[in-house]
Point group: C2
Chain length 342, copies 2
């Protein structure tokens, strides 16, 4: 049963189980501070494919395959796949699952896609529409640069506020929560669907600023609806505001008397080390998907984190909309995950 | 409560109400055989906007506004908007709802987007995640030609199997079904989420052939799961296979001993007259959205149709995936709508 609490928060009485998860990343991501916490690190970002788009698709396919394997599942155990990416017409996701023979619902939430898929997936398993749902998302630095910015060979300069699109993918399987388990499990307890928030940012090189107000809106709604303080959670993680957006979010919340800093992280800030030339941090659907489905969920499995808010942030725009001087809107979907002891 | 019937069909015990709906179309679509059955026909396809993309967005915005008005609703009565389109990063949908202040879930199902949004929306209202959900989709001939094919001014030739992207948008509001009503209502009784089906079609000028096997798969699953014959429904409509795809679907079903023809229509075949030079018929997210939210749902309101299967079909591809010689996969999501007498 899904109960609506307060203004916008959904509470899942049945507490869907996040059964298994996997993350696959590129070479640079594997060399970063989280490198040892992913399930697969590519030796090179082309991954023996003929194009960057196919390489991205292969990365998402790998994450899905490993998530299933780790859960002892086969594709036919899934009732639905919710997946998306940044490429035009979301082709890396369609190509990753085209031969899966599983019902497929393409999602587009820009870099919030993983959170959107998890929140919707939780609704579907909790409501009885699916016994098991898989959420997945991916991005690839080279396919994104080509599509959104400059040809790689051009060697375009990046502004300090620019984020680095992660070569990464994550996948997680949700299952209806009925029944008691013999071992600790990770449960989805709440979710908030995000509103688009647009504050006049038109600089495609500063997505963090465009997305921070949406993260503020969603996190505020969640805390208000649950009558919770940030420290009621072990970690509240956005994905991906980067260093610039993360600072703006903390400042906006401080203006409301809320200090998020003791428990706050951002997937984009976590993914790369200072010496990796990623400027304002990581971004892309795959960044938050891989940081969640790799390090963060591992931390939950290992008991290092008990209650986690995963607040995926996306920037709604396209090269065409930016050229046409349209605003860039942020959106932020949140899911609350809890480690449930046996 | 959502019950899973047979292999894949979802049954909505609470029978969510399709409360209101509206369709907005371009000039050519208004001049076609269904012209008098839309809520709004644009005088010109630019709609006083500076770009085709903004015109498309305006059309979707108009459909959403009218759907709300016809239901006596305001935006704040909605808990979620599920919307999508064909443009890169789905910008016409984001721009249509950017200032709505309603939680927004971007959907990408190519031309099946309206059906995907309705099926997911029904799951959300039935499961309790939303009291009211709006599904919307749009497309525009000129924005699609520019993005997928040739600049308009180039005057590219079209193959006979090519479909004409409709300048059109549709929107519908779903509401939890509890309580008895004093007047006839339209209810969502069942849904099937589609699998991607790929049969080797690589010709982007023959989408009907790429999508027909997916429609076959979903319609077969629905009929099997419900132990139903086609004539148990007043109308089974695909959107949009066009003339070529519709023929293939009928042939495929006939091979299984199923004669769909007595109740079958296709939104793409219905939208344009023979003299309108649309070749194999209409396509685009807006085609099935507008034909459903205009003529078909009007027919249901007027009692001319009682049980309708709306099977939205989409082709998963992009210009890049086609150039890279990747397959084009079809997908088909179905919802069953029923007129419920007071």
């Amino acid at each position: 049963m899904i109960e609506r609490i307060g203004r916008r928060t959904l509470r899942f009485a049945g507490r869907p189980v996040l059964l298994s998860h996997a993350a696959a990343v590129g070479k640079k991501e594997g060399e970063g501070p989280l490198g040892g916490r992913f399930d697969f690190v590519a030796e090179n970002d082309r991954m023996d494919e003929k194009s960057w788009e196919l390489a991205e698709s292969r990365l998402q396919r790998a994450a899905i395959r490993m998530a299933l394997e780790k859960g002892g599942l086969k594709k036919e155990d899934l009732d639905v796949i919710l997946a998306g990416d940044l490429l035009n017409q979301c082709i890396s996701s369609f190509l990753a699952s085209v031969d899966s023979d599983v019902p497929y619902l393409g999602q587009y939430g820009a870099c919030s896609t993983m959170a959107q898929g998890l929140a919707l997936g939780a609704c579907l398993v909790e409501g009885g529409a699916a016994r098991r749902a898989l959420a997945a998302a991916s991005s690839h630095f080279c396919s994104a640069e080509r599509q959104y910015r400059f040809p790689l060979a051009y060697g375009g300069q990046r502004t300090p506020t620019a984020q680095w699109t992660a070569t990464a993918a994550g996948a997680a399987v949700l299952q209806g929560g009925a029944g008691k388990e013999r071992q600790p499990s990770i449960r989805v307890t709440h979710a908030v669907f995000g509103k688009m928030v647009e504050m006049g940012v038109t600089d495609a090189g500063n997505m963090g600023a465009a997305m921070a107000p949406a993260a503020f809106d969603t996190i505020t709604a969640l805390l208000d609806d649950l009558h919770a303080a940030p420290t009621d959670f072990d970690c509240i993680v956005t994905g991906d505001l980067g260093h610039v957006g993360a600072d703006i979010l903390l400042t906006l919340l401080r203006g409301q008397g809320v200090d998020l800093s003791p428990v706050y992280s951002d997937c984009g800030s976590l993914l790369y080390g200072d010496e990796q030339d990623a400027h304002a941090g990581g971004s892309g659907c795959g960044c938050s998907a891989a940081v969640l489905c790799g390090p963060l969920l591992r931390d939950m499995r290992e008991g290092k984190l008990r209650r986690l808010v995963f607040a995926g942030t996306g920037a709604m725009m396209s090269p065409v909309s930016v050229q046409q001087k349209q605003p860039i809107a942020g959106v932020c979907h949140a899911v609350v995950l809890e480690r449930s002891e046996a």
